[in-house]
């Protein structure tokens, strides 16, 4: 017998709702209906309510659960991944936890949290992550709501390479207290190697915040309130803590002879089905240090004869970053007043400008023991690059596009650690350690029919190669438009032949290019955006997603401003109106940036 599912007219809904539900239920499969009934039961259980009509009994016993808001502000995804992990952990400990991205957070709602854990990154010179700027501003403003009765703990992430280490975390921690919240665990400020310490801190914080009864919760919990910001189960197998060895199967400087650039295309082959990424994700690459620089350092501290130590420096330690903790440690170790003086107001910022570790040891030389020396150093971090390939197009491979960084300062030739490791010392056929860093905020629309507008300069074009390859493999029908900028057409048109092929096949619908040094006036991608604004707006009307990837100061900021101006035209308003439109697009996931 096949009964047509139908809600009676006297069901406790409005006529319109009944209509909608009927439409849904009529089309549903038995499995879907069965799932839905469990869902609704679970929902009530989770909210601690009993089913009013008693038509369906709850599937399991409800228990009182401790509410917990896990708030994060993330730039590279570290805070986000901590927040998501904590949520899983908290669920097991009978928390009713929700994860909120500062990008989506409503300050007033957050202020009503009972328990609040904050994971907050600091970006660049002491700034909040870009997507957290608005929240941060609101929190710091005089109009911020009181946080009375909120129990909180802040974990700050940062990079000691920057003078204002964990600045944003410090600010938020202090601000929450000032607004009346109660700190239940001390803030910790963590450097790039944060994982272990963060896990310990989280355990501690959850313990303090835990409800009295922490018996394992057997109810299938459905998070209903705060929709998760992203899929929680996509923690990659190969992480910074667990990299995999890859073979370098190709390594090419893409810039033609005559170029002022040096941009390397590197292909890494990984023989493991667990190596999974999607276009838009980042790939981490563990470098090795320049042996010559390691030698100079050892010489400066009188350890030049220690070959084993040199090997350790090359492979395991950060030997370039001149950080405050390091200077502090060196001052304490040596008792040098001149080094201690660097820690006074503004001194370190002045000294460390365009200087590195070696300058410290050469300027304030002391003989150290191997042990003393190594204790000053932090581990050598991996470096993240937006992946330039689609796994579907290149199974078992990840391609990176890496600009070699070289400059001279204070009489010394400087080299970007990872980029010149790749450019100068890696060879095709050699090995390197890589890992995956998902980027939940930069990726193709799920809908393959959506138009996409990709804006990138220099190595910022990398993810778009992956995007277009992915769409070509999928057979997606959505239009695509690439804006690419570099210095010279003849030498710097990264992946030119591939774009030509994609245009010919239709995988790429349009391309506009901006080469800044081919003519007397500078032409940048934003110049082209402005020229094409009418068509651009048409594409947006058609639901296009906009992507920006590349250097923030050099490009992304100006692109952002130009987009705001273009949108202002349609909004018939000023740039502010345009910015508001951009924000709407951001909220809708249609304006995504991967900038550095």
């Amino acid at each position: 017998m096949t009964a047509v599912p139908f809600l009676p007219k006297n069901a406790p809904f409005t006529a319109e709702e009944i209509n909608l539900l009927n439409q849904l239920v009529q089309k549903s499969t038995p499995l879907q209906r069965s799932w839905l009934s469990g869902f609704l039961a679970g929902l009530d259980a989770a909210q601690g309510q009993s089913s009013a009509g008693a038509a369906i009994a709850p599937a399991a016993q409800a228990r009182p659960r401790q509410p917990l808001t896990i708030l994060y502000g993330s730039e590279s995804g570290n805070s986000e991944s901590l927040a998501l992990k904590t949520k899983k952990l908290a669920a097991k400990q009978n928390f009713d936890a929700k994860v909120v991205d500062m990008a989506d957070a409503d300050l007033a709602t957050i202020a009503k949290s009972k328990n609040l854990i904050v994971y907050i990154a600091t970006w660049g010179e002491g700034d909040p992550p870009q997507r957290a700027v608005d929240f941060h501003k609101a929190l710091m403003s005089d109009d911020a709501p009181r946080f009375d009765g909120v129990r909180f703990a802040v974990l700050a992430l940062g990079d000691t390479a920057y003078v204002n280490f964990c600045q944003t975390g410090k600010q938020i921690d202090a601000r929450l207290e000032a607004l009346g919240a109660t700190r239940v665990a001390d803030r910790e400020d963590l450097d790039l190697d944060f994982q272990k310490a963060a896990a310990a801190w989280t355990d501690k914080a959850l313990e303090v915040l835990a409800p009295a009864d922490t018996a394992p919760n057997t109810v299938v919990h459905v998070d209903f309130k705060g929709a998760p910001a992203a899929d929680e189960d996509d923690e990659p197998r190969f992480t910074a803590e667990n990299p995999i060895e890859a073979e370098i199967s190709a390594l090419i400087n893409l810039n033609g002879t005559g170029s002022t650039r040096e941009t390397w295309h590197a292909e890494f082959a990984v023989d493991d089905p667990g190596f999974v990424y999607k276009p838009g994700d980042a790939i981490g690459l563990y470098p090795e240090n320049d042996p010559e620089l390691a030698g100079d350092l050892l010489k400066a501290v009188g350890l030049e004869s220690d070959a084993a130590l040199k090997q350790k420096l090359v492979h395991s330690f950060d030997i370039t970053t001149l950080s405050r903790p390091l200077v502090d440690g060196y001052a304490k170790l040596t008792g040098r007043k001149d080094v201690a003086k660097l820690l006074e107001d503004g001194e370190l910022a002045r000294f460390s400008a365009d200087r590195q570790l070696v300058d410290l040891f050469e300027s304030f030389p002391e003989k150290l023991s191997a042990d003393q020396f190594v204790k000053l150093l932090r581990p050598l971090p991996g470096r993240l690059y937006s992946v330039a390939s689609s796994l579907k197009a290149h199974p078992g491979e990840a391609h990176l596009l890496v600009g070699a960084v070289r400059w001279t300062s204070h009489g010394r030739t400087r080299k970007g650690v990872t980029s010149t490791y790749l450019a100068d010392r890696c060879k095709t056929g050699g090995k390197a350690r890589v890992y995956i860093k998902p980027n939940r905020h930069f990726g193709l629309p799920a809908d393959g029919d959506r138009p996409i507008i990709m804006i990138g300069a220099g190595t910022g074009v990398a993810p778009y190669r992956g995007f277009i390859e992915e769409r070509a493999e999928n057979g997606d029908k959505g239009k695509s438009w690439l804006f690419f900028g570099e210095r010279n057409f003849s030498y710097d048109f990264l992946y030119q032949l591939e774009w030509q092929d994609h245009l010919a096949s239709g995988a790429l619908s349009r391309i506009d290019v901006a080469f800044s040094r081919d003519q007397p006036e500078k032409i940048y991608v934003q110049t082209r955006l402005w020229e094409r604004r009418e068509e651009l707006l048409k594409w947006l009307d058609e639901g296009a997603h906009i992507y920006v990837c590349g250097d923030e100061k050099g490009m992304a900021k100006d692109v952002d401003t130009t987009l705001a101006k273009i949108l202002a035209e349609t909004a018939k308003g000023d740039e502010e109106a345009g910015r508001a439109k951009l924000k709407e697009l951001t909220k809708a996931g249609r304006y995504q940036r991967d900038v550095y």
Binding site: I252, N253, L254, N255, G256, T257, G258, H265, F489, S490, Y491, F493, L494, Y495, Q496, L497, E498, W499, Q500, L503, I511, D512, V513, F515, D518, Q519, P520
Partner: protein, 571 residues
């Protein structure tokens, strides 16, 4: 019956008066190239698509297409440039081209390395100097060359005037050039005809092949008059006043290696015309070639082959029938040299003129010699006129005594010596060849200077350093550097290898003859060193090297183009 006309004939016919899809090609920003067919059409606009052959090998590996760029050649009939124009042309070289100006063997300027996105801007900048590039290449009447210094006599001035008149008269009338390059908007293409164009002289097919006109004033044959399709040779009366022009037809350089039915040819002097008739004669000669030239085989399409096929008498009769009058009988004249006078000399009005030797016509700054800067500074000082020669040199004309000192200072300050090179170097010409020319089989511009340096040792040993000896090199047999008219000629065969030709006349009246095949630098020096030594010892009074090698039996004389490949005895 199948239409056997060459592919280019169809291209021209369907191009809607040279438009093709050039404008559309310019809008394709993903490539530095234009469509294949358009590469033929753009020549008529004065440009060749090229690519940097030095880097061809690496490009695909780097995921880059060939390093395409464009050569742009100016139309400069008569070869004169004002200081203001020079400054503008110099700006263009720095802004859009490869930082150099290249003087051609046909007395005009070329730019190299202009990328597609800058083509329009460059054309507009050239237009801003009141110059253009129309018909500087392609199957049309090319730049009309009249060389020498127009300020030294009224006859020279008349020669310049004639060059400009012929150029204007034979200029294509299509509006495609303006539309594509100067307006840059509302461009019609072949599917979207705009204003109907007509080409009263050319028709939709233009000429079968290029057509080159030169004007010469004896005794200098500095324009190589017999190397061109059509030449006018000034004839003067006893007082030196112009009475008319001898008309030479059927000269031309290009040939193909290994195809003996292709050959360079010296023109035949077929008659004499009055000054008033000259433009008309130019037109009718071109029209007979338009109608009689071979349109099936481009290798056989130049006027020289038409005349070989029909004979000079029949050709002359056809020209005369179209003119409606007979040409006069050719008058006597005498050429003495092909080279340019280098250094300072005074004209009849006591103004100074400086023949400035420009090696291979390449005007650029090197660390030690700031040639481009020097000429720029001379132009900035103003008050002179620049005359470009067919030997790739510059004459700075009409210099006052005061300016002379200033110019000398400028040259010295920039490391430019006026007359220190050897007689051989002063009389050298090379084409551009690698890395930009698609046709080059071997180096030319980048190799000839070092070859001459090597030969200068032989010259010094023989005591010939100051003797004028004409030496020319081209990277391929098409002969832009007119190597077949050189006493010592080189034609590229393969990287590092050349055919060596000897025995052309110093006055440009006789072709040379193949002497050695596929020789490299060391072998060249080995072959020429003893010949130069013998020449120094055994020459007659005033005997030129090109004549000596014939008298000495080193090579047989080439008495006409059709015997260029005969009587060859290789060394």
């Amino acid at each position: 019956m199948t239409d056997k006309r060459s592919k280019n004939e169809f291209l021209k016919e369907e191009s809607h008066f040279l438009r093709g899809t050039i404008a559309d090609g310019l809008s394709h920003v993903e490539t530095g190239a234009i469509a294949d067919d358009d590469t033929q059409l753009i020549k008529f606009h004065g440009s060749y698509m090229q690519d940097d052959r030095d880097v061809r090998g690496e490009r695909a590996k780097k995921k880059l297409e060939k390093a395409f760029s464009f050569m742009i050649r100016l139309r400069l009939p008569g070869g004169l440039v004002s200081p203001d124009q020079w400054l503008k042309l110099d700006d263009i070289a720095g802004t859009y081209a490869n930082g150099s100006l290249r003087l051609t063997t046909r007395a005009t300027f070329q730019y190299h390395g202009v990328i597609k996105s800058n083509l329009r801007r460059t054309m507009q900048a050239i237009n801003g100097a009141c110059l253009d590039t129309i018909a500087a290449c392609g199957d049309v009447n090319r730049n009309v060359m009249c060389v020498g210094n127009p300020f030294v006599s009224p006859v020279h001035a008349a020669a310049g005037d004639l060059a400009r008149k012929i150029s204007d008269h034979l200029l294509p009338k299509t509006s495609a050039y303006h539309e594509i390059w100067l307006e840059g908007e509302k461009v019609a293409d072949m599917t979207r005809p705009a204003v109907p164009d007509t080409e009263p002289l050319y028709g939709v097919h233009y000429l079968p092949r290029k057509f080159k006109v030169v004007i010469a004033v004896p005794p200098h044959n500095d324009g190589d008059v017999f190397a061109h399709d059509l030449g006018f040779i000034a004839i003067t009366d006893a007082k030196g006043a112009l009475v008319g022009w001898n008309v030479s037809v059927g000269g031309g350089m290009g040939m193909t290696h290994g195809e003996t039915d292709t050959f360079p040819r010296t023109g035949d002097v077929m008659g004499f015309c009055t000054p008033e008739q000259a433009v008309d004669v130019a037109e009718k000669v071109m029209l007979v070639q338009r109608d009689w030239g071979n349109r099936e085989l481009r290798k056989n399409a130049r006027l020289k082959y038409t005349i070989e096929r029909f004979g000079i008498e029949k050709f002359r009769a056809e020209v005369e029938s179209r003119l409606g009058y007979k040409l006069g009988e050719a008058r006597p004249f005498k050429f003495t040299s092909m080279g340019d006078p280098i250094g300072w000399y005074q004209g009849p009005d006591k103004k100074w003129h400086l023949g400035l030797f420009i090696e291979n016509g390449r005007i650029k700054d090197t660390p030690d010699h700031h040639l481009r800067t020097a000429i720029r500074e001379i132009a900035e000082a103003g008050g002179v006129t620049f005359s470009i020669t067919g030997n790739q040199n510059v004459i700075i004309c009409n210099v006052s005594a005061k300016q002379k000192t200033k110019i000398e200072q400028i040259l010295k300050a920039n490391g430019i010596a006026i007359a220190t090179s050897s007689g051989m170097r002063r009389n050298s010409i090379s084409c551009v060849a690698l890395p930009t020319c698609a046709l080059a089989l071997a180096e030319s511009e980048r190799f000839l200077p070092e070859l001459i340096t090597a030969l200068e040792d032989s010259l010094d040993k023989a005591g010939l350093r100051d003797d004028d000896i004409v030496i020319r090199m081209t990277g391929c047999p098409n002969g832009c550097g007119r190597p077949y008219m050189a006493e010592i000629g080189f034609v590229g065969r393969a990287p590092g290898l050349y055919n060596l030709y000897l025995g052309a006349a110093f006055d440009g009246t006789r072709l040379n003859k193949l002497y050695a095949q596929d020789v490299g630098k060391a072998r060249i020096v080995e072959l020429l060193d003893p010949l130069l030594a013998r020449y120094a010892k055994e020459r007659n009074e005033g005997e030129r090297f090109g004549d000596f090698v014939i008298r000495a039996g080193v090579v047989k004389p080439t008495l006409g183009g059709n015997s260029f490949h005969s009587d060859v005895t290789l060394a």
